[in-house]
């Protein structure tokens, strides 16, 4: 079985792959979005700032635009222990949210740390820093886009940690409808937390863009006035955790998902025009999307935001990322020499590569007793020859997470979307069946497969004589014309895919198959009386229907639309031939005999 990786943000450090954390229920996610939700996006860097040398003050070069902002760092550093203590208490004892909670909530990091955190993203980070500008300067809307797992969200969030400015982050993945999106933005701005006391309700109820704009304007001007008042009162002295400047940034992540919403035709232009509608220079708007701006064109135009492109990582970038946080860098580097190039030809997505490399590296290390060893040339050769037979097969399994890998992977299966399951769950080319299935379910699967592949008109001739297709019949008509026909039919099969069938046909075929199988069993074991074929069709039928529905749930069989003439539901088998043959082999059932070959 496959796991659809795109749903999860996978940490780039291969040492801790596949943040096997299942998606949390929406409510707890939005409740904990300030402390819990954000930190999850940080690249496993939670403990890293502690490892830094205590006084590696960032080089204050004159060209760095943020040079001035780094000055309060010394004061912050002395009070870090106290601030981190409050962070720890906050998680267990929720305190009333204050305006300070609009910033990232951890110690700000320097620009150099930010750059070293994200290898291969130097250009993009510097560009973003410049576009965001100094602490009080207004900004036109930005549109950040790039392929999956190219670090867009992490970089934007860490960027705000570095800048220490207030922002509101809402992802259109967790906020899956306009109302939830609007309310999530407002809740954060109004410093509202959903909890048991307010029955997990939002601060404002707002469904329409017009209400949203009114509320948003009010909330934003409150927040901004608050900041202005604070900075006026405090003068030059800054409190710990105090945000810089009086800009507020709204970040909308996963914007591409909005296109599939019901109201996408009005919501998208609205969001893109939000900056012009609000007319507040203190608001910066940042969109983060998977797909390029061209995919958002509609017949209703809008002012295009400023595009910032995050290209896919190059091979060198990937190497740098993989080398981060490695215990034995030399060893891992020699491992990457072996595998990285060939895998890069297939995919350059960090999430997929890191899952593929984890088991491979374990294989690579198998002959070693001491993982801290520095490999020399001879050892590298030995390790390479050990690994080489594994590479080719695993290249073809890049996207597969072996099913016995972890219990977390199993739970992921439950959460992944139905559509993705349909795409992937079907055509597993596994050497042998690695899942359990009852015998009758197997027969049902085979009969569904036959019903999908064979033309309905041939059913009678196939199953009547209990012997499958007569081979003599087929040989007779191999004329020129029929050959052409055969080619056309093959083409059609490729194009159209498996056919649909009504339930009755499936059950009829199923009965034929089981009776044949029963017969063969009876022949072998004469003494054993029939296992209840004649014991009543009724019992069998109800059982079969149950099996059918469980097969449907597993997406081996897909329920299609109903036939307009008959009015009954039609089914379609999505199992590929290899799989069906495998199942048949496990039953010792002669499937190919019943398969109509054109």
């Amino acid at each position: 079985m496959y796991i659809y990786l795109g749903l999860f943000k996978i940490l780039p450090a291969p040492a801790k792959p596949a943040s096997a954390e299942p998606i949390r229920p929406i409510q707890s996610f939005t409740v904990g979005v300030r402390r819990g939700g954000r930190q999850r996006f940080g690249h496993t860097e939670g403990g890293r700032c502690g490892d830094r040398r205590p006084f590696c003050t960032p080089t204050r070069n004159r060209t760095a635009p943020m040079g001035k902002e780094e000055s309060p760092q010394v004061t912050r550093r002395t009070t870090r222990s106290s601030s981190s203590a409050t962070v720890a208490t906050k998680t267990c004892d929720p305190h009333p949210l204050t305006i300070k909670d609009l910033v990232f909530g951890e110690d700000p990091i320097s620009l150099n740390d930010l750059l070293s955190k994200f290898p291969g993203r130097r250009i993009q980070i510097l560009e973003l820093v410049r576009l965001l500008g100094a602490s009080n300067s207004p900004m036109l809307p930005l549109f950040i886009y790039g392929g999956t797992s190219s670090g867009k969200t992490s970089i934007v969030l860490q960027m705000f940690r570095h800048l220490n400015r207030p922002f509101v982050y809402s992802s259109c993945r967790t906020c899956y409808s306009p109302r939830i999106l609007f309310e999530s933005v407002l809740n954060q701005l109004l410093l509202h937390r959903k909890d048991a006391a307010n029955v997990y309700s939002s601060a404002k109820r707002c469904e329409r863009p017009s209400d949203f704009v009114n509320f948003l304007r009010e909330a934003l001007s409150n927040v901004i006035n608050n900041f202005k008042g604070n900075s006026g009162k405090l003068g030059t002295k800054k409190l710990v955790g105090q945000a810089d400047g009086n800009m507020v940034y709204l970040i909308f992540d996963n914007l591409e998902l909005i296109r599939e919403w019901d109201k996408s035709l009005t919501i998208l232009p609205f969001l893109f025009n939000l900056y012009d509608i609000l007319k507040m220079p203190e608001v910066g708007i940042i969109f983060v999307s998977n797909t390029s701006p061209d995919t958002y064109y509609s017949n209703m135009g809008y002012m295009e935001p400023i595009p910032v492109y995050f290209p896919d990582y190059t091979e060198d970038d990937l190497r740098q990322i993989f080398m981060k946080n490695q215990a034995n860098r030399k060893l891992y580097s020699s491992f990457l020499d072996v595998v990285l190039r060939s895998f890069c030809r297939i995919t350059r997505r960090m999430d997929e590569l890191s899952t593929a490399f984890l088991p491979l590296f374990q294989k690579y290390c198998e002959p070693l007793h001491d993982l801290g060893v520095v490999p020399n040339e001879e050892m590298k050769r030995r390790l390479f020859s050990h690994l080489q037979p594994q590479i080719a097969p695993s290249l073809n399994e890049v996207f597969k997470v072996s099913s016995q890998s972890s219990p977390a992977a199993e739970s992921n299966k439950e959460t992944k979307k139905k559509s993705s399951r349909r795409k992937l769950g079907v055509c597993a080319e596994i050497d042998e069946l690695d899942f359990h299935m009852s015998t009758s379910a197997k027969y049902l699967l085979i009969s569904a497969f036959l019903a999908s592949r064979n033309p309905a008109t041939l059913d009678a001739s196939l199953f009547d004589s209990m012997g499958g297709i007569d081979s003599r019949k087929r040989k007779r008509k191999s004329s020129q014309k029929s050959l052409e026909k055969k080619e056309n039919a093959e083409q059609e099969l490729l194009m159209k895919g498996p056919g649909t069938f009504p339930l009755e046909r499936l059950l009829a075929i199923f009965q034929c198959l089981t009776s044949v199988a029963e017969g063969s069993i009876d022949e072998e074991e004469q003494g054993d009386e029939g296992l209840g074929v004649q014991g009543g069709d009724g019992g069998l039928m109800s059982d079969v229907l149950l099996q059918l529905s469980s097969l449907c749930n597993a997406n081996f069989i897909v329920k299609g639309g109903s036939c307009p003439l008959e009015g009954s539901t039609r089914y379609r088998s999505t199992v590929c031939e290899d799989m069906a043959l495998k199942v048949a082999r496990s039953l010792k059932f002669p499937l190919s005999k019943y398969l109509y070959r054109r």
């Binding site: 004159r62 060209t63 760095a64 635009p65 040079g67 410049r130 576009l131 500008g133 100094a134 009080n136 300067s137 207004p138 900004m139 036109l140 392929g147 329409r208 863009p209 017009s210 704009v213 009005t266 609205f270 025009n273 012009d276 509608i277 220079p281 998977n290 797909t291 390029s292 701006p293 061209d294 135009g301 809008y302 002012m303 400023i306 595009p307 910032v308 492109y309 030809r345 297939i346 995919t347 350059r348 997505r349 073809n396 890049v398 996207f399 349909r422 795409k423 079907v426 055509c427 080319e429 083409q491 490729l494 194009m495 159209k496 895919g497 498996p498 897909v558 329920k559 299609g560 379609r572």
Partner: protein
Amino acid sequence: MGRENTVEEALNLLRSRLCNPSFVFKPLSDSPDSNYSKLKFIISSSVTEACNNSILLLGPRGSGKIAVLELVLKDLLLEFPDLISVIKLSGLLHSDDNCAFKEISRQLCAEHQLLFSKMASFDDNSQFMIAMLRECGLAHKTIIFVLDEFDLFAQGKQRVLYSLLDAMQSVTSQAVVIGVSCRLDADQLLEKRVRSRFSHRKLLFLPPSKEDLQRLLEHILSLPVDSTISHDYAVEFNAKLQNILADEKFKQIIITYMDSDATVNHLLRFLFRAVSYMDLGSGFLSLENFKTAFSNIQRQPKLECIKVLESLSLFVIQFLLTLGHLSGLDCSILELHILVCMKRLEVKEQNSYNFNSVMKEYKSIRASFQMSEYYAWNICLRAFEHLLQRELICFTDNRGQNQSVEFRPAKLLISSHELQQGLKSYRSCPAILLKLMDREV
């Protein structure tokens, strides 16, 4: 440190100017035949003569319709502080009738210190509006309705437009309806009963001429010499700016950039990017800033960049190439293979194809060229899905949702020319792919 502060202050000033449309459009409005003067004349005459009026402001998105209108309204509010109240609606927010009337009543209440009830019904609100129109007419007060995205109000039954314009037919009322739209045929969208009540005044907003553009650039980018920013710095800054503005290369960049879209807002976005690249060390804008901004703002997701390049002068192309911004297609080799296979299927005029046929083609290519690498069916399927996600390919129809991916017919979303350019600029593209692409084999 003082110097650094000055530079930062200057940068901040420039950025806030770029984000403030009313500053940008100020200089374009002083001549007597500008839209500003015309609009001001129309509105002020209907205020002073106490009559009803309606106007459409038409022009492409980002040509400053709203900005000019705001300038006019600001001036008029200063001139006749007690005679005008402004109600602003946007088609994006209030195209729904119910919503529109509610918003009108809300703003009227806020304007006249009345208590607004959220519970008021549609009928209450519309009657309230008509009553308010009458009252204001009696008090010789003009209500100005600004309808942004006017074309969106013309959807559905146009009840808002009708009741507004119908109320204005009476002698007692005194209102101006200003529609703002980027659809030039906005008045054709109106129903007959609405159209007959609408005066067909239209103001067209055209892109700025070359001279205006030059003036605009100078207006936006030069620093004031008499402000908190130090005088010497401002003078030096402006001198350098003049050099850049006079530079032929700079003019070339601006002209090519404005080729695709000549509106002012389009220019602003470019300037914003250029200004944010300003070197804080030296503290002056340079031609390099504009070049970098130009190369970064040209997008290349589906290689539109290449199309644009054909029209560019040579130096810009060389510049882009040196920057390495022509990375082209951002796919893995396997994905490129699939794209080329699809391209070949399209050339073969196979009327529709799906993943299975692509795989057939891929296998035949592999067999005939003895390619060493072999990727299994499911790996290719995943690469195919990546392409779908990047929207380089898509399914031809939405039917067959419950069909598996491999059977749904697909099509390419990039032209063969783009694909070819992308392959050529791909860093390590296998030579065989280029050959296959050219149908040499």
